[in-house]
Symmetry: C3
Subunit: 265 residues, 3 copies
C-alpha cells in the first residue's frame, strides 16, 4: 500500500468518524495530541478508514453492534457514551438503542445492561432531538403464555441448535432451560423495536467481544442465517470486534463461524 493510499485511509476514516461523532474535529484526536498522536491516527485509519468503510454493514448496523459489544464488555464507558451518541448521529432511533441494550441482558447479564442504560439515559438527556421517540413497553399478547411465545421464537431463530441446548439441560438444570424459553426468548427476543435479524447481529457482536461464549456464538451464527442474515454479515460483525475487543476476539469468533458455515454446507 502506498503512502498515497495510506492518506486515503485517513481521509476516508476521518469523514466517517465525523459522521459518527457529529462534529468536525473529533475530541479523541486532540486528547491524544500531546501523548500519542499516532494512536489518534490509528483510531481514524483502522476502525473507521478500514472497518467502518466496508460496505457489508450500514453505519446504523455497525453502531448497534458496537453498542452491544461495549455494553457486554462493561469496562468501556467513555466509548459506550460516544457510540450511543454516534448511533443517534447516524440515524438510529432511541428505541433501537434501548432495545439493543436490553437484548444484551441475555448475553452479559443485568449489571452490564443496567449500567449501559444509565449511560444511554445521560446521552439522551443531553440531546434535543429524538426525545419524542417511543420508548414504551410491550403490549403482551394475553392469549399467549411466555412459554408459548418463547418456544415459538426459539424454534424460529435457533432451530435445532436451540433445541439441542435445552435437551442438554434436561438432566441437570431443566429450569435453566425454562428461563431461556420464557425470559430470553419469550420476554426479550419477542420484544418489538428491533427486528430478529438485528437482534442476532448484535448477539454475534456481543458474544464475539466477550470471548467466553463460543457455543452460544455458534448457535446464534446459525440463528442469524436462519432469520435471513447472510454469511457476509456474520463475518463483518465478527471482524468489527477486532476494533473493540482486539484481534484475538475476532480471530476466535471467525474460527467459530467457520465451523458453523461448514456444518451448513
Amino acid at each position: 500500500m502506498t503512502e498515497q493510499q495510506t492518506g486515503d485511509r485517513y481521509s476516508r476514516g476521518l469523514d466517517i468518524l465525523r459522521r459518527v461523532a457529529g462534529v468536525d474535529r473529533p475530541a479523541v484526536l486532540d486528547s491524544l495530541a500531546d501523548i500519542c498522536p499516532d494512536l489518534g491516527r490509528y483510531t481514524v485509519e483502522f476502525p473507521y478508514g478500514d472497518v467502518y468503510a466496508r460496505p457489508a454493514l450500514t453505519l446504523r448496523q455497525r453502531q448497534l453492534t458496537t453498542v452491544a459489544a461495549l455494553t457486554a464488555l462493561g469496562h468501556a464507558t467513555p466509548q459506550l457514551r460516544f457510540h450511543i451518541d454516534g448511533a443517534l448521529n447516524v440515524g438510529c432511533n432511541r428505541r433501537e438503542i434501548v432495545e439493543t441494550i436490553v437484548h444484551v441482558v441475555v448475553y452479559a447479564g443485568f449489571p452490564a445492561a443496567l449500567n449501559a442504560m444509565t449511560v444511554a439515559k445521560e446521552v439522551f438527556s443531553q440531546r434535543a432531538d429524538g426525545s419524542g421517540d417511543d420508548l414504551g413497553g410491550q403490549p403482551q399478547d394475553a392469549r399467549e403464555s411466555r412459554y408459548e411465545r418463547g418456544w415459538k421464537a426459539l424454534s424460529q431463530i435457533d432451530g435445532e441448535a436451540g433445541h439441542a441446548v435445552l435437551a442438554g439441560l434436561r438432566d441437570i438444570a431443566p429450569d435453566l432451560g425454562h428461563y431461556i424459553i420464557e425470559f430470553s426468548f419469550g420476554d426479550i427476543y419477542s420484544r418489538q423495536g428491533l427486528d430478529l435479524r438485528t437482534r442476532e447481529l448484535v448477539t454475534i457482536a456481543a458474544c464475539t467481544a466477550l470471548g467466553t461464549a463460543r457455543p452460544q456464538l455458534k448457535v446464534h451464527t446459525h440463528g442469524l442465517l436462519n432469520v435471513g442474515g447472510t454469511r457476509e454479515e456474520v463475518v463483518e460483525a465478527i471482524l468489527q470486534m477486532a476494533v473493540y475487543a482486539g484481534f484475538p476476539a475476532a480471530l476466535n469468533g471467525m474460527a467459530a463461524a467457520r465451523e458453523v458455515f461448514a456444518e451448513r454446507d
Copy 2:
C-alpha cells in the same frame, strides 16, 4: 405460564428485592421509569421472582455468591455496592463479606479484590449497624507452616483434582504450585470467618461468572461436593450467574458441572 402467574412472579420478586434493598421502593425501578420500564420489570421478575425465590440456596448464600461474582467481574461497581449492602440487609455480617472478597483474590487477582474492598469500606461506613463486627486478622498456628497448612486444606478440599493440578505444574512451573499451596490454600482457604462449604460455593460463582476458568470450575465443583456441598447447590450457584454474567456463562458452567457429576457417578 398464565398472566396471573406472571403477576405472581413480579410480586414475589418485589418482596425479595425489597428485603435485599432494605427499602420499600427500590431505586432501580425509578431510574428506569422514563427510559425502559420493562427492564425494571425484568429486574424484579427474573433475578428475584425466578432465581432468588428458588429454595435451594438461602438469601444469605445468594448474596455472598453475588458479591463474589461481581468482585470477580470487576466492572459492575454500582451492583457490587448494592449487593454488599444487600448482603448485610439479609443477615450476612461484615466479616463474611470481607472474607468473600479476600477469597476472590485467588480467582480474579488482587486488583479485583482491592477495588471491591474499597466499595465494601464505603458501604460499611454508611451504615450504623454491624460496626462492631469482628474484622480482625488471623491467629497463625505457629507450629504449622503455611505449606503444611495449605497442603492439608488442598487435600481436604480438592483431593485428587487438586493434586493433579500440582503434578501438571512440576515440569514447567513448580513454584506456581508452591504458591497455590502456601498462598491460595495456606493463607486464604485456611482463614476463619467463612466455612469451606461457603468458600467453594463462592468459588463456583466467581469461576462461572469469569467464564475463563473452566478447569478450575471443575476442580472446585469437586471441591464443594468434597466438603459436604450438594449437587443442587452447585447447580443453583451456576444458574444464578445467568443474572450477573449472562446465560452463556451459566450454560457453559452447567456443562462443566455435568462433566464433574458424570466423573463422580
Copy 3:
C-alpha cells in the same frame, strides 16, 4: 516455611513495593488497615515478596507486563494508575509505557488502550521528571509499504504459526488477515520505542490476563522464543498474572505454554 521466613517475605516485599510506589509507606496498607489488614499484608507478601522478588524478570520488565495486563483487563484503573507511576519509579521511560499501551490495542482493542492512555496522561502530568521523554511519532519508511513491513515483521516474530493464522482466514475473512499484516504488524509491531522481545513479553502477559486468547497466547509464546526470549521469561510473565488476573488465568496460560514448549522439543 517458618514464621521467620514468612517475616522475610513481608520485609522483602515491602522493600520492593516501596521502590515501585516511590514512597516509604504505600497507601494500600493504610487504606486496608481498618477493614482487612490481612489483605494489605498479602498484597506485600505475595505480589512483591514472592513474585516480584523472583530474579527472572527485572522490575522494569515486570512493570511493563503489569501495565499491559491492566490495560487489557480494562476494569482496574486505580491499579493501572499505580503501576504506570510505578513503571516510571523503577526506571521505565514514558515512551516505553506509551508503546506498551499502544501495543495492547492489538490484543484488547481500542477502548482498552484509549482509556489506559488517558490514565497515563494523568500520571505523566502529575510528575515533574521525564517530561522531556520523546513521545514522538514514527518516521515511516516511504520505500516500504505497510504490507511489506508487516509481512516481514510477522514472519520474523511468529514464523510458521503466524502464517498458519493467515492461511486459516483465507477462505472466510482474508481481509482480517490483511489487517493483521498491515495494522498489527506493519503499524504496531514495527513501531520504535519498545524492542520486539519486550513486545512479545507484554503480549504474553495481556493474553494470559484476558484468558480468552489461548490460540494467540500460543502463537506469541512461539513469538517470544523466536525473537530471543527464553522459556523462563515466558513462565515468569504468565506466573505474574496470578497476581493481576488470578490463579486460573496463570494456570491456563501455563498449560498453553507447556504445549508450545512440547511443540518445539
